[in-house]
């Protein structure tokens, strides 16, 4: 098995699983019923993508691995998701902005993955892209609505931007497996996407009348290689509790 492909798949899967997890925390607690449904929908879409990637990774690695063993039986240092997606929900502004940053990235990524030389990855990306296109539209609209809404919503968006911006750079600093993905062609070297991402973010921020966060800001990294923020441990403690407590059971 190609170990870098395996790591790459875990990275793609972990990103979507952990953001799905965060979004699902809103379920039943959203600010408007329609938006409770929308954010839960995104959570479901991302979970579906995660399952596709995990299933493929499990097939590749063999060893009786399953989507569940990969999601529920790895520890914090083995998770490869971006720091961005594990950040706490905060208020609706932070949730929206996290989604916008990530979906915009994901749209660019999946558009390229469709053309990669791994048919399975390409197929998952193609299916996911339809969903992600909607996520970008939905979150863009909300960024604009909140940025150009009331004074309070605007302030909250700026606080959210200040809080989350430092986690965006990691998306475009390739881990080893991403470099290999670009070279071997089973995926994408993310460096190339940064300019397009910035352009899109700038356009939406402008429409939202929001100032762009300081582009020179220092960027946090480490998630892709398993060095996370202190938040991930708590996510996994809850998420994995049943599998850890009753090992080897069917549910």
């Amino acid at each position: 098995m190609n170990n870098q492909l395996f790591n790459y798949l875990l990275h793609l899967a972990d990103n979507t699983l952990i953001l799905s997890h965060r979004n699902s925390e809103w379920c039943g607690h959203g600010p408007v019923l329609e938006q409770d449904i929308a954010i839960t929908n995104i959570s479901l879409d991302l979970l579906g993508q995660a399952r596709n990637f995990y299933q493929y990774a499990a097939m590749l690695t063999g060893n009786n691995a399953t989507e569940d063993s990969l999601a529920y039986l790895r520890t914090e240092r083995e998770f490869k998701n971006l720091l961005l997606v594990e950040q706490p929900n905060g208020d609706w502004a932070a949730t929206i902005l996290r989604q916008f940053f990530f979906s915009t990235y994901q749209e660019l990524l999946y558009k390229q993955l469709i053309q990669c030389n791994d048919a399975q990855v390409a197929a998952i990306a193609e299916k996911g892209l339809k969903e992600v296109t909607y996520h970008v539209r939905w979150s863009s609209e909300w960024v604009i609505r909140l940025g150009d809404g009331t004074e309070e919503s605007r302030d909250r968006m700026m606080v959210a931007a200040d809080e989350l911006w430092r986690f965006t750079g990691e998306m475009f600093i390739p881990a080893d497996y991403e470099k290999e993905a670009g070279i071997s062609g089973f995926g994408v070297n993310v460096e190339s996407m940064q300019q397009d991402w910035l352009k899109k973010v700038e356009a939406i921020f402008e429409e939202a009348t929001l100032p762009m966060p300081g582009a020179a800001g220092y960027m946090q990294r480490g998630g892709k290689e398993g060095t996370h923020t202190e938040h991930l441990g708590y996510i996994l403690a809850a998420m994995q509790y049943l599998q850890r407590t009753y090992p080897g059971c069917e549910w």
Binding site: H21, C27, D36, E67, D68, Y72, D148, T150
Partner: protein, 318 residues
């Protein structure tokens, strides 16, 4: 037409099974009863998201997690249909929600019980949704058109949920001793509250008579409850579990299961607000609503700006 004629016309429609529609004349009491019942039903969907939502982050497999999220989301959808149905009766969503938060409006008491283990996700699907469906199938033929149509949509999804719930329990029943114990424990805790979902005995039910005449309800509490018990008493055998009622047994004369006395004290206690989670549930809903206020305001402000801009650019273009 005179009020009297209007009422005759209304009643003859009811008799002929013609649906009452929003613009039709209807007696005030009919409207009031519907608003009370539909909004209570809507609130039950929304509050009902909380006990199950409690296990989303802890679901034991990705597949179960996806199913659970989708299910809770369906409940939000049902809430939407039903708030829309109350709106056809001239009550705004805000008003309706406000009545929930102040305690003026009720929701199904079942959601005031806590979800303590994963097996509760199964028991809620099987028993709670199962009991709800009994009611809802009947309501697909209720006399008020928008309510009946909402119910048709809801019923389809609910029976799906019930099967999913049963499937959770089925997996547990085939599992480890701990899983089997978890399964039986959940059935023990949810059985009696599920029976209470059908409301008081017919002899003690206040609103039932008039609702039956208006064909809002079409079966009595006791009839529905008996149907439910007959169904579950059979299904529980498939799980190899038992129902926590020593008096439960088949009565070959009645062709129904006999069952033990329901603890109506507990029922009224929970209705009065003293259930294990009444405070917690309303607090969670209020918190979501209050913390969402700035979001709703921002959305409204933005929409108003857009409208002004569109108008002024339309003017300029003219």
């Amino acid at each position: 037409m005179q009020i009297h004629d209007l009422e005759q016309h209304f009643l003859s429609k009811i008799a002929e099974e013609i649906k009452i529609e929003p613009r039709d004349w209807m007696p005030d009491a009919y409207r009031k009863t519907l608003v009370r019942q539909i909004s209570q039903h809507a609130h039950s969907e929304i509050v009902g998201m909380l006990p199950e939502g409690n296990w989303i982050t802890r679901a034991p497999s990705l597949k179960r997690k996806a199913i659970l999220i989708a299910k809770v989301q369906d409940e939000a959808g049902h809430g939407l249909y039903l708030y829309a149905a109350t709106e056809t009766l001239g009550t705004s969503r805000e008003e309706t929600i406000n009545d929930l938060h102040t305690g003026k409006a009720k929701y199904s008491s079942i959601f005031n019980y806590p979800t303590l283990t994963w097996a509760d996700m199964g028991a809620i699907g099987w028993l709670v949704d199962g009991a709800a469906i009994m009611n809802q199938v009947m309501l697909c033929r209720t006399s008020y058109g928008p309510y009946a149509r909402a119910m048709v949509r809801i019923c389809k999804e609910e029976s799906f949920h019930q099967r999913q719930g049963f499937d959770i329990l089925l997996s547990l029943s085939k599992g480890s001793p701990e899983q089997r114990a978890m399964c039986q424990d959940a059935i023990n805790r949810w059985w009696w509250p599920s029976l209470m979902m059908f409301g008081p005995k017919d002899s003690d039910s206040t609103h039932s008579d008039q609702s039956m005449k208006w064909k809002i309800k079409r079966m009595s509490n006791d009839e529905l409850r008996q149907r439910f018990i007959d169904m579950i008493a059979e299904q529980v055998k498939v799980l190899g579990m038992t129902l926590p009622d020593p008096d439960l047994k088949w009565n070959s004369e009645r062709k129904h299961y006999d069952f033990g006395e329901i603890n109506w004290n507990e029922f009224w206690n929970v209705v009065k607000g003293n259930g294990p989670c009444n405070k917690q549930r309303i607090a969670a809903r209020k918190k979501a609503w209050d913390e969402g206020a700035w979001v709703r305001e921002a959305a409204a402000a933005y929409a108003a700006k857009r409208k002004r801009n569109t108008q002024s650019s339309t003017l300029e273009a003219a």
